[in-house]
């Protein structure tokens, strides 16, 4: 299962970007914490609809879960339509967000 974390930079040591649609990039990881890579978010500087396009981007990558700070209604609707679940309120580094997500889900995740 793939996880996307909205991030200010491409590594697990980067701080989470609290914005979903306008984050600098997404760090993609497996649910066991293995980092698969990162993708820049080309929608960061877009006017309207950045969240919608960012949602489409992660959905097209086959992501199942998004970890982010906050996520607007249009982006949420798009993610929901694609069957991607969202966890908001993430803080700290990307690594910390991934760790606390798997801790909450328990060892089975």
């Amino acid at each position: 299962m793939k996880i996307a974390v909205s991030s200010t930079g491409p590594s697990v040591d980067a701080a989470c970007d609290e914005r979903f649609g306008r984050c600098a990039c997404f760090v993609i990881a497996e649910s066991d914490g293995t980092v698969l890579g990162s993708v820049d978010n080309p929608n960061a500087t877009q006017g309207h609809g950045a969240g919608i396009q960012a949602a489409r981007l992660v959905a097209d990558l086959g992501v199942s879960v998004v970890l982010t700070g906050r996520c607007g209604p249009n982006a949420s609707d798009t993610l929901a339509a694609a069957g991607v679940s969202v966890v908001v309120g993430c803080t700290g580094t990307v690594g910390e967000a991934l760790a606390s997500y798997s801790a909450e889900r328990g060892p089975s995740g």
Binding site: H48, I52, R56, A59, N74
Partner: protein, 280 residues
């Protein structure tokens, strides 16, 4: 003659100038049309008190997708510049509030899966008060698509000696839409640093539109020299300076016009009207 009344920012007294000018022209025997294009807050009617005779909803076409026909190719989402339609996981989502009704998505759909629905963005209404014909647009709450509504107000402009267009504040597409086709623009400002900054943006906008502009300074008093310097730099004249009077503010809060209660204001607005008519 069509006069646009605009301001770089809200709250400078744009509607005060527009309504007093309209009332003055009516009192001088002109047939006046007042188009309230400040569609987020059309309050010209508070002061002009027309009897509203008709209302008509303004709708915009938005796409609806037939999921039975759609094959999830994504072409619609690729063409839309506003992310108002998007294809994810083989499903198509429409965000009607973002849609600019360009029709691009239905043109590119290879299987003709996109039809059209009508979405109401606001209401245009109209009425009369003596020799004054009043038209206004009122944008639905939370709605962003004001330019089409402003076009709808402009489209029902009655024949008149003087058309007063109360434009939305600022320099957005909505303001441009309201000012397009005006013979002259009056920019209403105040002698404060913030208002001056916004006036400069508004002066740039009307210069780009190629519409001759003049400035009315409201609540004139201290700090007027800088506004004057700015206008001189743009080669734009200050055609009226209205003082800040408590009696006028109080009258305004009761929905009364300055020209109805203060002979001095009446005289200034008569002069402004004569000046505008001279320039024709």
């Amino acid at each position: 003659m069509r006069i646009g009344i605009a301001s770089g920012k809200g709250g400078t007294g744009k509607t005060t100038v527009a309504t007093n000018l309209a009332r003055t022209a009516v009192r001088r025997g002109r047939r006046v049309a007042y188009l309230d294009c400040d569609v987020e807050e059309p309050n010209g009617q508070i002061y002009l008190r027309p009897e509203i005779a008709w209302r008509r909803p303004v709708t915009l076409p938005v796409p609806v997708v037939d999921p039975g026909r759609c094959d999830g190719c994504g072409a619609c989402g690729e063409i839309c510049r506003f992310s108002a339609i998007v294809c994810v996981a083989g499903k198509v989502l429409v965000f009607p509030r973002l849609c600019h009704s360009c029709g691009g998505c239905s043109r590119v759909c290879p299987v003709d899966a996109i039809g059209e629905d009508l979405r109401e963005v606001g209401v245009v209404s109209g009425g009369q008060e003596g020799k004054l014909a009043y038209r206004q647009g009122l944008l639905n709450v939370g709605e962003a698509m004001s330019p089409p509504l402003i076009r709808a107000v402009r489209a029902v402009e009655p024949v008149a000696d003087l058309v007063v267009v109360d434009a939305p504040p600022g320099t957005s597409c909505a303001a441009v839409e309201a000012l397009r086709g005006c013979d002259r623009v009056l920019l209403v400002t105040e002698p404060t640093p913030f208002a001056r900054h916004d006036l400069e943006l508004a002066l740039d906008t009307v210069a780009q539109l190629g519409i001759p502009a003049e400035v009315v300074v409201n609540r004139a008093g201290r700090d007027g020299a800088r506004t004057l310097a700015l206008c001189e730099r743009y080669g734009v004249e200050i055609v009226a300076e209205l003082p800040d009077r408590r009696s006028i503010a109080e009258a305004s809060s009761r929905g009364e016009l300055a020209v109805e209660i203060d002979p001095e204001f009446e005289e200034w607005f008569q002069r402004l009207l004569a000046h505008l008519e001279d320039r024709r």
